[in-house]
């Protein structure tokens, strides 16, 4: 009996240690605002950039420079180059508590899932305040959906979460799979 009680206590401790801290108080999330329209065309159409894996390792345009695009409101929008449509959600967001981001991306060409993108988040409050190191992992399951965690915000405020897609690819030509999508996230 004593062993059972100790085992149960250890199991409870494990669950507590692997989850976020106390589930109390308000939670944060995407900042509501104007919907992203940066890929919309005046005629009602949409800009769509085709990608090719073969362009992942091309060093071609010596004058190309990176542009991450504007940070977006809400929980979905297109990447900076109009290659992907990106949606995200999260587990409960509270200051100094572990949480996960769940990101899904589809190709704007045909709506198919963006697979193998090795999504990497860049999270910061301002120019000098990145999110603390939490040694997070990115796991893709199912295809095109990426769970990233554990992550932490260590201060309240309006943070920027920028997702990098195919970060391992060079970003030197227009049809490189490399892309970025950034969103505001409010932390209470």
């Amino acid at each position: 009996m004593k062993r059972i009680v100790i085992g149960a206590a250890l199991a409870a401790g494990i669950v507590f240690a692997c989850s976020s801290s106390g589930p109390s108080g308000p939670t944060g999330g995407p900042v509501p605002g104007a919907a992203d329209t940066h890929c919309a065309l005046p005629d009602g159409g949409t800009t769509v950039q085709v990608t090719h894996q073969s362009s992942c390792t091309i060093v071609a345009n010596a004058n190309a420079t990176a542009d991450y695009g504007a940070t977006m409101f809400n929980a979905e929008g297109d990447d900076d180059d109009c290659k992907y449509h990106v949606k995200f959600s999260s587990t409960d967001i509270r200051e100094n508590s572990n949480f996960n981001l769940i990101v899904s991306a589809t190709n704007k060409t045909d709506g198919s899932a963006v697979t193998g993108a090795n999504v990497d988040p860049e999270i910061f409050l301002n120019n000098t305040h990145p999110a603390p190191n939490s040694n997070f992992k990115t796991v893709e399951s199912p295809a095109g959906t990426y769970t990233i965690g554990p992550l932490q915000f260590d201060a309240p405020g309006e943070w920027t979460v920028r997702f990098h897609f195919f970060e391992q690819c060079d970003d030197n030509v227009d049809d490189s799979p490399h892309g970025h999508a950034a969103f505001f996230v409010e932390v209470p």
Partner: protein, 116 residues
């Protein structure tokens, strides 16, 4: 016996949760800008030339994010801070920053990257 096994299993599970592939990235971001700010010309520029320019220069793998002069570095200071602090840069397989270089660069970046 079974209690020992239970405890051993619990320890293994605890060690595994939330971890990474074994290489932990230090939480060593300076809490504030130090009184003695590292000099860009004397310390940071040579460091970046040595560690970053093999890729972040024309013709390099990351030529779209060049770091060849102060203006370019300042423009990308947020990404540099994030990538270096989270141990994503330099990429694996390339020469890594020493502990002293990492501290120097992070201290300069949390001072908002002055041209000093």
């Amino acid at each position: 016996m079974s209690l020992r096994l239970t405890i051993a299993g619990a320890c293994l599970l605890l060690a595994g949760c939330g971890g990474t592939d074994g290489a932990s990235c230090p939480n060593d971001l300076p809490a504030q800008c130090p009184a003695s700010v590292p000099g860009f010309s004397s310390e940071i520029s040579p460091l970046i030339n040595n560690r970053c320019l093999p890729c972040h220069a024309p013709g390099g793998q990351e030529s779209v994010t060049p770091l060849t002069n102060y203006q370019e570095i300042f423009q990308q200071r947020v990404s540099v801070l994030n990538q270096v602090y989270h141990c994503n840069m330099p990429l694996p397989g390339n020469p890594q920053l020493t502990a002293d270089e990492r501290a120097l660069l992070l201290n300069w970046l949390v001072c908002n990257s002055p041209d000093n």
